[in-house]
Symmetry: C2
Subunit: 163 residues, 2 copies
DNA sequence: CGCAATCTTGACAAAAAAATAATGTTTTGA
DNA sequence: TCAAAACATTATTTTTTTGTCAAGATTGCG
């Protein structure tokens, strides 16, 4: 279970824009340099993010990219949804092995886990905005752990309810 | 953020063994058929799981695979750790773009999110054993949601504590 | 013993993902 | 108006991930 290159870099590029002041913008070469990727690559990512409505692009000299909405209104859950290749919607449509559809029509012990995991992840990501990721790493880390904190406790306290 | 083919199929093959009675075992072709994958593929997966100590293999006629430990003692967190290609340990060593190391030495707003997400996932998976995935889908689903349930509540109740 | 069933293991091929390249369009300003 | 700077879009190449194959090794049985 891991994050894809597109998700990681896309998020990082967006985060660069989130650090800008009002009326500032960044060109592709600038974004590329700040994230250590090629500007062709940055171009493709920004194209995606533009299509999805997260950023505004202006062409021509003096052009560049800026956020289309306030950083505090952009939730990671939305961004990740755009950046992951294709919709996770149909888990049972991927991983069908050599067959056309999954062999487990009806009962499958894994599906609820996969689906549940996605719910957990989405839930966590839907509580974080871009704005909250701007700042020092320590600060961001502390913020994130507040989101996790209570869960750890509550989950542990009902651990032994299995057959 | 998604589960890889290796993780998915590996887990499913293990789950097949978990449904067996004492002293039963399955051969590669049998596992392959039940999961709708090729037996060559099943072979590689089982090889991994064998190396990691989750399954026992016996060769020769009447050979096959069975779990090396009780299904109730095998946690998904361990299994996933083995099945994901390489250790997630060093997130900063992957996704370095065109450079040798990540440009964000020192402060990076994304790292805590990635790391935190992994903690959340690991935590959820470390509460689920193979044994709990045997049964009807509805039952498994209900079990899994017990794990999620309390978290949802606790997280929502402290949502507005950001700058 | 010797054959057949079975796992083991490394090399190889196919598919998917990621990155780059190439070509086109828009804007600004001299 | 024209050239330069910048984004837009599609095609191609490269890399990574998956899956297959083939040659071995081990075991049981007639």
């Amino acid at each position: 279970m891991k994050i894809s290159a597109q998700e990681e870099y896309g998020l990082r590029c967006l985060l660069q824009l989130a650090t800008l002041k009002e009326d500032e913008s960044l060109t592709l070469p600038q974004i590329a340099e700040r994230e250590g990727i090629s500007s062709a690559n940055a171009g493709k990512l920004m194209w995606l993010l533009n299509k999805a409505g997260f950023v505004q692009a202006t062409r021509g000299t003096k052009g560049g990219y800026s956020l289309a909405r306030e950083a505090g209104e952009i939730y990671l859950s939305e961004v990740i949804k755009i950046l992951e290749e294709d919709e996770i919607a149909g888990h049972c449509e991927s991983y069908t092995g050599v067959l056309d559809s999954c062999v487990h029509n009806g009962g499958c012990g894994i599906r609820p886990v996969i689906v549940g995991l996605h719910e957990i992840i989405q839930n966590a990501l839907s509580q974080i905005t871009l704005a909250q990721l701007v700042g020092t790493e320590a600060k961001v880390d502390e913020r994130f752990h507040r989101i996790q904190g209570l869960r750890q406790l509550s989950v542990n306290s009902q651990q032994s309810s299995n057959r």
